[in-house]
Symmetry: C2
Subunit: 466 residues, 2 copies
């Protein structure tokens, strides 16, 4: 029943625009659109329009004999469409009234209004993509930064699915052998090499762990790597921040326009998104940091992955040991980069003198002028290098979906039981059960195993029209 | 220079959606998109992709070797496109990030961002449509009601242009003859039959007047025919209003959602849009209307074309003459329909009694129950009939553009000068001058005569991407 109904929805963003696209999809897509579309070329059914071909004509309300719009229709024949069903895409003028009228005519002629995500759900049901790919479609549409976009498109194009499929296939081979043993249980044979199985299970456990661990990294990359900007007032924090934000002006200003309040200090540098957290907790001189607002600064630093500790080079404190000790105290466990700003105001001798003092410390440090942009490129490279070190981009798959993470953890538990079972020489039927459970959870991610509830949950988060 | 540059813009509504369409247009459209598009089929230029054909592939950032999105591209070869230029339409996933990235890549590879209306302006410059049709594209996109939509689509499809063209051609024939006379001025010949010319001029004057007069009607139809709902409290005004508004629920609720404050009481009945103006100025009994808030009610009634005067049938005043007199006084010049409500609460005898009393008055009247929806269909038909009488839908052209109205008035002045000139036997060169002026103003509407300033003015009001 589900696959037989023909559905329609406006697939472009809501509101008025130059053009809008209405998608009609299902067995009767051609028949329904034929009833309201009059081609400029000939009075022929869309069924006979060449696949992937755009036709020009009008949408008409037959009852009132009114022309609703001049449109372009594109025809996709099953299974060669996004959903795998017959599909007609109607590109009309983007008037709200026209969009509504065409939808109304489609419904009057037998279409159902599509539920959120119903097109993608059909693509999944028709085997055009697996579940993790379908979820990536929603992620892709929601993506607003390069990092989140990269993860989504990689997942949509099947990177993740391929990896999971490989793991499942390996497990399936083994579990088949083990279950074959069970058929011959009275003869006490061992088709499945236990040593090989243990190797495999350990490999798979490692692999699943890696994927699960990537979840935290995935979230960080999705939301931007948090960088705390720490420093007294007047050391040049906002000048530095502006320098970062200007790096990719178009994208930043775009983000500003949309969700200014929440992510206003995002900047993309060499493809990585950084989220700059301003700390305003430090006033007066470095000697007094332990007194002044340490509590607040601690909290901000706690959220960061990297701390940029800004110092005014023209007001350097000579007590290096104490200074560095204080910084370490505030930033325990965090990656700190000491940034000496305002070097444009120093004589070369003074700069050399400062460098000599601080060279002995084992902190990362850099000497810049945010205002005259001296050495700021090097600082950015340093940030990117540090970020890459923390989140190596081995072109591997990054998990950024809590449902996948959850399933991976369960799969991991099961495979760990397999390993300890092998150590304890447990029986084949128990082993088989644990392997099957691991496969089950991996299959949940790609949707080979799925329930209506899970599907409903996933697709209800889509926008209508996709 | 203008026509050589290749432009691009997001043509669908702003924001995230299932899909978005980016339009690239200009001589280099294929070359530019070739640089970022990799087809799934073969490594061939879009130049060689069949016209009107949709191709599947990916958009790539060659510099970073990243895949930005999987897209469908449709190719239109000049002059067979909306603008008349080479055009590529890229249908991508509707992520804001993806849309921006593709635009960025297009600009990096030589496109200019399109100005508002630039696509339609090119269509005009390339002779794909005249100026009034181009303006209708903007009207169509902005249309939110059936009436405004109908006017726009009629104009877009060239109804208006054809009429004006006919008038201009007739004038041109005559002016040519007159100007021929001037060449032979020494011989005192008369090629152009003055009597025929006067007939023609009078016809044209009449025609132009009709068009100019339709401006008021056009505006009313565009904004909804204003109906004042007058009546004491508790006579059932809001029940009646709800009945009207429910008639076309989908469309009304759509309008509600978008611009609730300004047009919340619009309802579409049999294709006509009515704008209901609530009047709250009358309290107490009809006897006291002259005392109570007449001033305010007058103002509201003044804005209306039709007045629905609601009366509670269960509380009828027997002094019919006085009652009707008061109504006439309030509604001078307006079309009034007397609506007797709550007839479900009357016995048949009482109803007959009331009818007998009021039958003698020459006002339009109807007996209904808004609550039980008795006879409300008849009331709606009455409204529609009255509206059609005031604004006959003779399938003629309705002017709803102030620029056109202005040009028509000027053309009318010129043709009137032609008529009086003929009466006074003025010379051929003066006649010719007036006829040319009339033609000039008619040509302004279709854009045969246009200045950069006028064009800039018109197209700057478009949305970007159209």
């Amino acid at each position: 029943m589900f696959r037989q109904s023909t559905i329609c929805a406006i697939s472009t963003a809501a509101g008025a625009g130059g053009i809008a696209v209405i998608r009609v999809c299902g067995e009767e897509a051609f028949t329904v659109v034929d009833k309201i579309f009059r081609s400029k070329r000939k009075n022929d059914s869309l069924k006979n329009q060449k696949p992937y071909m755009v036709g020009y004509g009008t949408i008409n309300d037959v009852k009132t004999n009114e022309t609703i719009d001049e449109v372009l229709v594109t025809v996709f024949h099953a299974p060669h469409s996004f959903t795998g069903d017959n599909t007609v895409e109607i590109a009309c003028h983007g008037s709200i009234y026209v969009q509504q009228e065409i939808l109304r005519l489609l419904v009057d002629n037998g279409c159902h209004l599509a539920q959120p995500g119903e097109f993608t759900m059909r693509a999944f049901v028709n085997g055009k993509m697996d579940l993790s790919q379908a979820e990536a479609v929603a992620d892709l549409i929601a993506s607003t930064t390069r990092a989140s976009h990269r993860m989504a498109i990689k997942q949509m194009r099947g990177g993740f699915s391929a990896e999971l499929q490989k793991l499942r296939t390996q497990l399936l081979d083994f579990v088949s052998l083990i279950e074959l043993e069970l058929d011959f249980s009275e003869e006490d044979v061992e088709f499945a090499d236990r040593k090989k199985l243990k190797n495999l299970a350990e490999n798979i456990e490692q692999h699943i762990s890696q994927l699960a661990d990537s979840f935290k990294a995935g979230n960080v990359l999705k939301n931007g790597i948090p960088i705390a900007l720490v420093g007294e007032t007047n050391v040049g924090k906002s000048t530095l921040l502006n320098m970062f934000l200007n790096e990719d002006k178009a994208i930043v200003s775009e983000i500003h326009g949309t969700t200014r309040d929440t992510i206003e200090d995002l900047a993309t540098i060499e493809g990585l998104t950084f989220r700059f957290i301003d700390t305003a907790g430090i006033r007066n001189t470095t000697d007094q940091i332990e007194i002044l607002g340490i509590e607040r600064t601690y909290q901000k630093i706690e959220q960061a992955e990297i701390v940029l500790w800004l110092v005014d080079s023209t007001a350097i404190n000579d007590d290096v040991e104490n200074f560095v000790g204080q910084i370490s105290e505030c930033t325990a466990g965090k990656k700190v980069i000491l940034v000496f700003n305002k070097i444009d105001k120093l004589s070369d001798e003074k700069l050399e003198y400062i460098k000599a003092i601080f060279d002995s410390t084992d902190m990362d440090k850099i000497y810049i002028s945010a205002k005259s942009r001296t050495n700021t490129d090097a600082l950015q490279k340093m940030l990117v290098k540090t970020a890459h070190y923390k989140y190596p981009d081995n072109n591997g798959v990054v998990v950024n979906n809590i449902r996948h993470y959850d399933a991976l953890l369960k799969a991991k538990e099961a495979i760990i039981r397999v390993i300890s079972g092998l150590d304890n020489n447990i029986s084949g039927d128990l082993l088989s059960q644990d392997i099957r459970e691991c496969m089950y959870h991996l299959g949940e991610i790609t949707g080979q195993i799925s329930t209506d509830e899970v599907l409903g949950n996933i697709f209800s988060k889509f926008c209508i029209g996709k």
